[in-house]
Subunit: 206 residues, 2 copies
DNA sequence: TGACAAAGTGTCAAATTAACACTATATTAG
DNA sequence: CTAATATAGTGTTAATTTGACACTTTGTCA
């Protein structure tokens, strides 16, 4: 009998070129050597599962102190050819201003648009789809969109985040009305001066 | 080093006397011997985590083929005094017409109103609260309420289920309008004849 | 200084939601 | 047998929310 093991896997999202992207890492070890896979790894003896997720994300991508939430636990007996491995999946969100460092465990880390995912190891395809669905649902009733933006952002940038997550176009006036009357953003005194007409920068308020 | 183990715990809900109740089982073994706890147990080698949840629920309560959904995985290192035990929590729903049989593993199984829970073992209090919150949220965007009713039911019974879950009173006319124009129930040809004026019995349609 | 690109702004109709009270019908008690 | 009672069942109106829709402003760059 092989030992039962628990892993965490993290679906790390960001927005690049107006599209939702996922971070994948090329595996250096068997099984699925050379394939892309989600960042993740084994839960250690004296850490909570949440801590393991934070640690693995930090080790493999350099990303720290980001939004990270448990998604679902995948526990089919044969999901990992090495033996009985149950994985607790998480999803995480970063603004793309965050610097991405390749960790020691992982060779190639790269962002992939959800339309153009390469084949991925294990059941990670299902995990990614599940995460995307959760993110869409969550956008409806939470302020999760702000986690994909820097501290200050324009309303157009916020709208682009929503559109990338939902995969639809939104009406500019209706979107701004909704956000503003929720009272969850406040204007900063700064203006974004790139592009043509400067745009007001807002800040998230809780 | 003690071996890492995975358990499942199930928050089984039903409605009794217009109140949401949870099934608890008195523990026969240490730790927490004599305390109440959620039904559950260890995940076996060759079953999926979902299968383990179904199996444990069947063994400990006799309940089969009910709505059962994964809730959250609780993985704090010291949540179980026996060693490192990570639990995958589920919640399940039964109509109270289901017969409850005390299983072999469990001595006393009893229903408790959520207002009057006894002290419970491990971190099961948190798991129950988490389950209740999930159930409330889910009522908004799904048909989960029907799982707590027999095949045929009156609209008043359905309303009482919603009120028990939400902990609020609902307007009868608004409630009926909402349910009927969702088109998720159809009238059967039967009438409930208990009480005063007979009520039409409905059936859930998917 | 004119063309362009993105920012920013308001109205109206439709749909949804919330508040609200009486009538109908069977049972049971006197 | 009839009156009391308990629960079923039923519509309207006002307020709110949502969705559709187009033009003006303002800075940059050619």
């Amino acid at each position: 009998m092989t030992k039962l093991q628990i892993t965490v896997d993290i679906v790390l999202f960001t927005i690049l070129e107006r599209q939702l992207h996922v971070l994948l890492i090329r595996r250096l070890a068997e099984p699925f050597r050379g394939s892309y896979a989600l960042p993740g790894g084994f839960v250690l003896e004296n850490e909570s599962v949440d801590e393991a997720a934070h640690r693995e994300l930090q080790e493999e991508t350099g990303v720290e102190k980001v939004f990270l939430e448990q998604l679902y636990t995948f526990g089919e007996p044969n999901r990992d050819p090495r033996g009985r491995v149950i994985t607790v999946a998480y999803y995480a969100l970063v603004a793309n201003s965050h610097i991405l460092r390749s960790g020691t465990d992982a060779a190639d880390a790269a962002w992939f648009s959800l339309d153009k995912l390469p084949p991925v190891a294990f059941d990670h395809q299902s995990i990614i789809e599940y995460a995307q669905q959760r993110l869409r649902n969550k956008l409806d009733y939470s302020n999760v969109g702000f986690e994909l933006l820097p501290e200050k952002f324009t309303l157009t940038e916020l709208q682009l985040v929503h559109e990338a997550i939902l995969g639809t176009n939104l009406d500019k006036r209706n979107f701004r009305r909704k956000i503003l009357q929720q009272g969850i953003v406040e204007p900063s005194k700064e203006w974004q001066k790139t592009g043509r007409k400067p745009a007001q920068l807002y800040r998230f308020v809780d």
